[in-house]
């Protein structure tokens, strides 16, 4: 075994057991007793603020009451009615910023109702059953192309299939799931949950999944628009911003998302190399995930270098604490200046209100691996109008081209979150349905 202090990039810094423990479920499922105690705490609020805070507007007080009264499967159904990826969302949603952050018991006692974990209990209950819980409406004879099988595409496709439309869902990658499969931190989605969930979702029928087909390379928007009654784009943000500093192209400088994708696809994490000294540039969820997982692979020193202050960080306080509790060091007000062989120079920043500037003062850290986590970019726009580096949409995902909708990370508006993508995919499906059925 290599030790955490072995220099340079090395695999197997920790033994298999420690790695398995580190990458185990971040929030283990509640046991039946814990479920009842947690459900008991919900006040069944009027026009509940947690529901308002959920991008998919799950009827939270209702599903918790259903759990409390011994009907968890009905609770799961309530969740899936609003959010077909309620299982994944229960695992990956930054609940502290969403439902749980809005829970009145957070205001009252600083301890919200554990909505996420209750949601996991309810959705697990339904998914453990063999049959798919939804049936398709009478077939409409309409065909819709969904490009991208990430949360937005999956949600859109499921809703369309349910409403009786036939769907062909394309994805450039080999496996469906989008970032659920390639991006989410391993300890949030364990035991192949992402693929199980996709298989379960496809159980509705009427969705023809075609992987390895990329818009741009293999498919054109014109051809799709020609062949199908409607097109939905949920292609996410595949590109990664460059650092734009000397040394950006050195070996050892990589995209955080690629590192995580490799990690998610690895069948034996003891073979995945990681540096002794790792620096992650960025301040969002991706930065935290890359840092924590580096640490869990056995990196000795991991630092997140963020150019602004703690409050401006995209990662929630909970995630910052998660990083800190894993021994990740958080550095604020520093921006990358140059990467050299074995070291990175960080320049301090200040903001006097007219914009962020380097102060000229530079600090150097020893580094074997640098991860870029400074945001993702659009890779395909299909020739549609782009605004703010995303596909321009209005209403429920309508792009500037009639018959073409878009949602999820690739489309303008909303936070770049799994649950937001699910909401946008669902709402676009409803709008597509209304449009296709007009006059019928």
């Amino acid at each position: 075994m290599t030790s955490p202090t072995a220099p340079g990039l090395a695999a197997g810094r920790l033994d298999a057991e420690s790695i398995a423990a580190g990458f185990a479920d971040l929030h283990a499922p509640l046991d039946p007793h814990e479920v009842l105690v947690a459900a008991d705490r919900c006040y069944f609020c009027y026009d509940a603020p947690c529901v308002t805070a959920c991008p998919t507007s799950i009827d939270i007080p209702l599903f918790i009451r259903q759990i409390a009264t011994g009907t968890s499967a009905a609770a799961g159904q309530t969740i899936f009615d609003a959010n077909i990826l309620g299982g994944m969302c229960a695992r990956v949603c930054p609940t502290e910023d969403l439902c749980e952050g809005a829970c009145v018991r957070e205001a009252a006692e600083g301890k919200p109702v554990e909505i996420g974990r209750l949601q996991r209990h309810a959705t697990d209950t339904v998914m453990a059953r063999q049959e798919h819980p939804f049936v398709r409406a009478a077939l409409t004879g309409k065909r819709v192309a969904v490009v991208g099988a990430g949360p937005a595409g999956l949600s859109c496709a499921h809703r369309l299939a349910m409403l009786g439309h036939d769907v062909v869902m394309y994805d450039a990658r080999i496996k469906p799931g989008g970032l659920n499969e390639y991006g989410i931190a391993a300890y949030k989605s364990t035991n192949g949950f992402a693929q199980r969930e996709v298989d379960w979702l496809l159980g509705i029928g009427g969705i023809d999944l075609q992987t390895g087909k990329a818009l741009g390379a293999d498919l054109s928007l014109d051809a799709l628009a020609e062949e199908f009654d409607a097109v939905f784009l949920g292609t996410g943000l595949g590109g990664v911003n460059a650092l734009g500093i000397p040394g950006d192209d050195l070996a050892g400088v990589a995209d955080a998302v690629s590192f995580i994708a490799d990690l998610r696809q690895s069948t034996d994490l003891t073979t995945l190399p990681v540096g002794r000294n790792v620096v992650v540039i960025g301040g969002g969820m991706t930065a935290v995930d890359a840092a924590v997982q580096s640490k869990l692979l056995g990196a000795e020193n991991v630092t997140i270098a963020y150019r602004r202050g703690r409050d401006a960080m995209g990662a929630s306080r909970y995630e910052q604490d998660l990083a800190a509790s894993h021994g990740v060091k958080l550095m604020f007000h520093v921006q990358p200046h140059a990467v050299r062989d074995g070291a990175i120079d960080l320049e301090y920043t200040s903001d006097d209100g007219t914009g962020l500037r380097g102060t000229g003062e530079v600090v150097s850290l020893a580094v074997d691996q640098v991860f870029r986590a400074i945001g993702q970019t659009l890779t395909t726009d299909g020739g549609l109008v782009v605004e703010g580096r995303k596909i321009k949409i209005s209403g429920a995902g309508r792009t500037t081209r009639s018959g073409v909708w878009a949602g999820g990370d690739c489309a303008l508006g909303g936070d770049d979150l799994t649950v937001t993508a699910v909401a946008e995919g669902r709402d676009a499906a409803m709008d597509i349905h209304a449009t296709l059925m007009e006059g019928n």
């Binding site: 105690v37 705490r41 006040y43 609020c45 009027y46 026009d47 509940a48 603020p49 018991r105 009252a108």
Partner: protein
């Protein structure tokens, strides 16, 4: 620290907390440990007549009702009186009383409604040196089918008759334990008094079915597929018990008759409330069956702290103090006007008050887009529902309107004078004010 010593019918005990006749007092082992834990007295588990003892079911004998966090709010039981031989109980009682002379030890008795049965058992109870007896006229299941327990307690004439026998064959205090399974609790209390009883104790348990097993389609607790009604007790019955206590305390026919309060006493505060309504002491069963003997520590410390704060030096200082304020609806002051008020700093914006008032009451709570909830004085009738459903204690309060101010709901000036229904113009039978 306040002195908790109580004198009930001349029976002294170091505090007013007695254990009610029930499983906690069914044997020497329990009672010794209860006394060691600090209980002021016990009413021994009900004794039956000489001969083969009763038998209990060999399956579940309790059912339960829960509140939040599986807190036991109500318990129901189908247990009978002691299922141990009379001699064994009497020997144990004598030994325990000899070892704990400062504690109250009362014998609970239930024998058939025949003079000979009472004549036989009372001298033997007297020999134990117990401080008094309690007549169990309350047990609502099993024993009632055999013509005892609540079958006697529901017929005032029988109560009076049995009490007379007891006073004839027994010299020490006689307490009559009343069943709540009756329309007017004052009648059995009057009968007990007429028969010469020294006190009444109440309530015994309430007829109940706590739940139905929806798979077996039978009530719980279920014995081999069948269930029967049991006796309900615990925190859930406290309001019923307190009303019955108050009815007896303020009934001119029984006023001054000592009362031992029973039914859902769980904390010092419950005890203080029963005592304020006229009880000389209280008896506890479900709370100890839930938490064990140790809860008496909280009851004692709580009651004495409260007495110190209020300046009461003896329990007799506050026994019955609330009785004069229990009245009939017709005497409530209709000129008193209050309004609900929400403390915005305490409010957590759950909206429960809004749902309650808007959907089911008087549409007197306003809600803004940013979830600020406030009372609309023009609509509020001061019903208190919002206070009752609010999860934050003291967040909503009822504020009395000062006389002379105008109630925005009615447009009328709040009057200083007291005026009740008996003189109200809307009352067809109103008596004109002099």
């Amino acid at each position: 620290m306040a002195d908790l010593t109580t004198d009930f019918l001349g029976i002294k005990s170091p505090n007013p907390f007695w254990l009610a006749s029930a499983p906690p007092t069914d044997k020497e082992y329990n009672v010794r440990r209860a006394f060691e834990a600090g209980w002021g007295g016990v009413v021994w588990k009900t004794l039956g007549a000489e001969g083969p003892p009763v038998v209990n079911v060999n399956g579940p004998r309790y059912g339960a009702i829960y509140g939040a966090d599986r807190r036991l709010l109500g318990l129901n039981n189908i247990e009978l009186i002691t299922d141990r031989p009379l001699e064994v109980n009497l020997e144990e009682m004598a030994r325990v009383k000899a070892d704990y002379p400062d504690r109250a030890l009362i014998a609970s008795i239930m024998v058939p409604c025949e003079e000979q049965a009472w004549k036989d058992i009372l001298p033997r109870v007297e020999e134990t040196n117990a401080d008094g007896i309690e007549l169990n006229f309350g047990c609502p299941h099993g024993m009632a089918e055999r013509g005892m327990g609540s079958a006697v307690g529901q017929v005032p004439e029988y109560i009076e008759m049995v009490v007379r026998w007891c006073k004839k064959y027994y010299d020490r205090p006689v307490i009559v334990k009343l069943t709540p399974n009756i329309a007017d609790i004052r009648k059995p209390a009057q009968a007990a008094k007429n028969g010469g009883a020294d006190a009444v104790s109440l309530i015994n348990t309430i007829n109940s079915i706590t739940s139905v097993n929806l798979d077996s389609m039978a009530p719980e607790p279920m014995i081999d597929g069948k269930g029967t009604h049991g006796g309900y007790c615990g925190p859930a019955v406290k309001p019923i018990a307190m009303n019955m206590v108050a009815e007896i305390a303020r009934d001119p026919a029984t006023r001054g008759l000592p009362i031992s309060g029973i039914g859902g006493v769980t904390t010092w505060r419950d005890a203080a409330e029963f005592m304020a309504l006229g009880c000389g002491n209280v008896q506890v069963c479900t709370a100890v069956m839930t938490y064990g003997f140790k809860i008496v520590d909280e009851m004692k410390s709580g009651l004495s702290q409260w007495m110190d704060e209020k300046g009461y030096t003896s329990t007799s200082d506050f026994v019955g103090k609330a009785v004069p304020n229990v009245t009939d609806w017709q005497y409530l002051n209709l000129n008193y006007v209050a309004k609900a008020k929400i403390d915005q700093d305490a409010c957590i914006s759950c909206g429960r008050c809004y749902a309650a008032c808007e959907d089911t009451s008087h549409q007197a709570i306003a809600m803004t887009a940013d979830r600020t909830f406030s009372v609309i004085d023009e609509e509020c009738v001061a019903c208190n529902l919002c206070v009752d459903v609010c999860p934050v204690e003291n967040c909503i309060t009822m504020e009395a309107m000062a006389p002379g101010t105008v109630d925005p709901r009615t447009g009328k000036t709040v009057q200083t004078e007291y005026a009740n229904w008996t003189t109200h113009p809307n009352n067809p039978g109103a008596v004109a004010a002099e």
